[in-house]
């Protein structure tokens, strides 16, 4: 008989009006890496909340090492040796790595901390599993990758046997991802059991032994990754075949829509400029992609272009008009649409209804505001309903749904609907598919290409290699705030692109 570290058998969890988990079975073997795959809203989070005792299932049992257990709250889960690295880390920013690791289980003698003891244990653990951290560095000063390793050490320090990783790669650079994959393999080899929640198929194929797929709250199946393919997994997840390769006709670039000359933008973090002397052109009917590893000046470049931050120097021209000094509103009215990098920070007012978010860029137009300054609610509702219909934005209560309660994919669809419907000359899309599932990604890529085919200029800023290779007509690589290479996606390879992104290779780029 096989030994399972943890078994969740026939779990059913209902919420008013919805079955979040419908007869789901998940069996985690000792020492295996088990992936849990599913789209947003498939029930992954609910299942994990059940495992942590945050919800009590209506039906089903949980077994640890073959013995039935009752998990009433997170403390019970902790006692059973279940630990989790959340997608958004739960660390105290102003504490050191060591302080964070021992937080809550501080070794002490009569109330005095025994940090030396803790330090030795942490160092031993980090040695054993190859988790490089500096125990005395403050969380706010270290990289995201190191913060994640701190979270992992936190679990190990508590002698957890079952480790759950919730979308751990969403925040990491490609190098950090491969490092994490290695760490996970080491942990499994040492006998830890790992549950890996993800919707990135390549990572699952690389690291997981088995994969359980959920769809719309239902258990679809568990497969050995050795015997399957990414295409098969995605079909299981989405319920239909998804085209991985983006289909598009060759571009027919027209006149220059956007021209940037020697743009320099200051950094908010350090004293150097984040964007240095960047020049580029985007033409009507083409998609230009700025590729690069996160933090190489892409965000600041977009802030400068959209007007969120002032330029140190340089000139921006849109359709022949100098917009260097124009305000954000002026640029928007002149035909720049911007799908922002962080949809919660910039893209949406989460407490507003969906309809109010859909008019965020156009609320002041005569269509929505009367001369006396009153909002025309009926027009707003009609407009919102049209966009919801046309762009298939799904939500609980339609136009009056609070944006906060919508799924990430539908929030992004709402932003895309708003920005595209403005009929822009230039569409700036910054990581438009971040954190979305395969179905939504496919949809968004189609929309970008449709914009291109309608003769708009599209500027895509992306960190995802697949997206960089598939979607654009031209690739510009940004490294440390400079454009270091221009590549043709049809002729280049991921390896070559990687060399440019890592700064190992650079060309003089002519505009």
């Amino acid at each position: 008989m096989e030994q399972y570290a943890i078994e969740m058998l026939h779990i059913t969890k209902r919420f008013p009006g919805i079955i979040a988990n419908d007869d789901i079975t998940l069996q985690l073997k000792k020492g295996e890496i088990h992936a849990l795959l599913g789209e947003n809203g498939a029930g992954k989070s609910t299942l994990m909340s059940v495992l942590f005792g945050l919800y009590q299932p209506e039906e089903g049992t949980i077994k640890k090492d073959g013995v039935e257990v009752k998990i009433n709250n997170p403390n019970d889960a902790n006692d059973l040796g279940i630990g989790m690295v959340h997608q958004h880390f739960k660390l105290v920013e102003c504490f050191t790595v060591l302080d964070n690791i021992i937080l809550g289980v501080e070794p002490n003698k009569m109330g005095f901390l025994q940090k030396q003891e803790a330090r030795e244990k942490v160092l031993a653990l980090s040695e054993k599993y190859g988790l490089r951290v500096d125990p005395d560095a403050k969380i706010e000063d270290i990289t995201v990758g190191m913060q994640q390793r701190t979270e992992i050490l936190k679990m190990l320090y508590r002698d957890n046997e079952i480790l759950i990783f919730d979308e751990p790669t969403a925040v990491l650079t490609p190098q950090e991802i491969s490092e994490l994959m290695q760490i996970m393999k080491n942990l499994a080899a040492e006998g830890k059991s790992i549950l890996f929640i993800s919707h990135k198929l390549n990572e699952i194929m690389e690291v997981a032994d088995r994969c359980t797929v959920l769809r719309k709250g239902k258990y679809i199946g568990t497969v050995n990754t050795k015997d399957t393919s990414p295409a098969f997994l995605s079909a299981m997840m989405v319920g239909r075949n998804v085209t991985f390769h983006v289909e598009k006709t060759p571009a027919s670039p027209g006149e220059v829509v956007l021209s940037i000359e020697n743009m320099t933008v200051a950094s908010k973090v350090h004293k150097n400029n984040a964007v240095k002397n960047v020049s580029l052109k985007v033409r009507a009917g083409e998609i230009v992609c700025i590729a690069g590893i996160d933090g190489n000046g892409q965000s600041e470049f977009v802030y400068g272009l959209s007007g969120l931050e002032p330029l140190v120097s340089g000139k921006i021209t849109l359709k022949g008009k100098d917009i260097t000094k124009a305000t954000i509103r002026e640029r928007s009215v002149m035909g720049i649409s911007h799908i922002p990098e962080d949809r919660h920070k910039h893209g949406l007012v989460l407490d507003y209804s969906l309809e109010d978010n859909l008019i965020l860029q156009t609320y002041f137009s005569p269509e929505f505001t009367s001369g006396a300054g009153f909002l025309k609610r009926k027009n707003i509702r009609d407009y919102a309903n049209r966009l919801i219909e046309q762009y298939d934005v799904r939500s609980g209560q339609g136009a009056i749904t609070t944006a906060r309660s919508m799924s990430g994919g539908n929030q992004q669809k709402a932003i895309i609907a708003r920005e595209i419907d403005k009929a822009p000359e230039l569409l700036i899309a910054v990581q438009p598919t971040r954190g979305l599932d395969v179905g939504a990604i496919e949809y968004i890529h189609k929309q970008l290409i449709a914009q291109r085919d309608a003769g708009k200029a599209v500027l895509l800023i992306s960190l995802e290699l697949d997206e960089v290779m598939d979607v654009p007509d031209r690739i510009l690589v940004m490294y440390e705030g400079e454009i270091v290479g221009e590549l043709d996606p049809k002729k280049t390879s991921q390896e070559e692109l990687g060399l440019y992104m890592a700064g190992a290779k650079r060309d003089e780029v002519k505009v």
């Binding site: 209902r14 008013p16 969120l308 954000i328 509103r329 893209g347 407490d351």
Partner: protein, 379 residues
Amino acid sequence: MKKALRNPSVQAFVASIICIILGLLIGYIVLLFINPEGAAESILNVIKNFFTWSKPKTQLKQFGNTLAKTMPLLMCSLSILFAYKVGLFNIGVAGQYVAGSCACLYASLAWGWSWLPCLLFAIAAGAVLGAIVGFLKSYCNVNEVISGIMLNWISLYTANTILSKVKEVASPYTMYINDVNPSALLPNIGLDELFAKNKYVTIAVPLALLIAIAISIILNKTKLGYELKATGSNKNAAKYAGMRENRNIILTLVIAGGLAGLGAAMLYQTGYMRWECTQSSVPSMGFNGIAAAFLGGLSPIGAIFSSFFIQHITDGGQYVNTNFYSSQISDLISSVIIYLCGFVLFIKITMTNMLNRSEEKKIQRLKVPLADSGKDGDK
């Protein structure tokens, strides 16, 4: 029943009522501790306020007094809630109120202005103070609570200094507007007749109610309200959408300050009260406005009722039997009740949590299939 309890407005109302009852209960317990003999009578008097009087005519007159003092409180609570909707905690409302008091009193007593210019001057003074906080917030990133509290004290002592020039020789109080410059008193427009010739019931009453309605409309129906609330809810998204978020923050505090200044004029220009030039604490009107705003569920219309209630309790405090209690007890009792009023949000959240839990339990108990579980847990 449970479905009704999920409605936000119903929730706000129920929560407010619970707060009031809790406040009265604790006030009663405090009285019991100090002296059990007069507790029941005293707390009843607090609730009865002007009904303590036996003659209907006196009742009406006293009701007019409470009403006259409700309007400045309403303005302060509107000031708080307006700023709050834009994500700002305008604790500087007390200072803005002081600035308004100083402006209208000085203009009427020293310069002999008539009522309308005095009123406008008070609004301007409050608005200027609000603008200072707004500028510091948007251009120097100074937290509005810090600068607001500092300005409360600065404006208090500035007001004391300035108003000393128009005070009576023999007392620390400012002169009577009635004697010096009756033209600065707000017109009664016949309202005094309705309240047994209470001359303190003035145009301020209908004006304040109209302003409450106007604030409600601005927040919910206009482009300005849309922009301001967006800025308050997510400053970054507002900036991204091309709204001038710095201008919006300043504008909000200017409006909030103006409301507080107007509130001051609505009290002092009735002649009901005079300024005490030696006072060393900021008038409580502004701070009570915070409680009124929350008790009213942060709705301008709700604020009308909550302001009246709080003023009612405060006035009722003077009918606590002083044979049993020292005279400060009235302030203590009303402040206990006002303090509890701040718990409205807390009670709302508790209520939602309790509803969720009972719903979950019910589902678990019945193990009903999806089709029957329905949208609400109650049939």
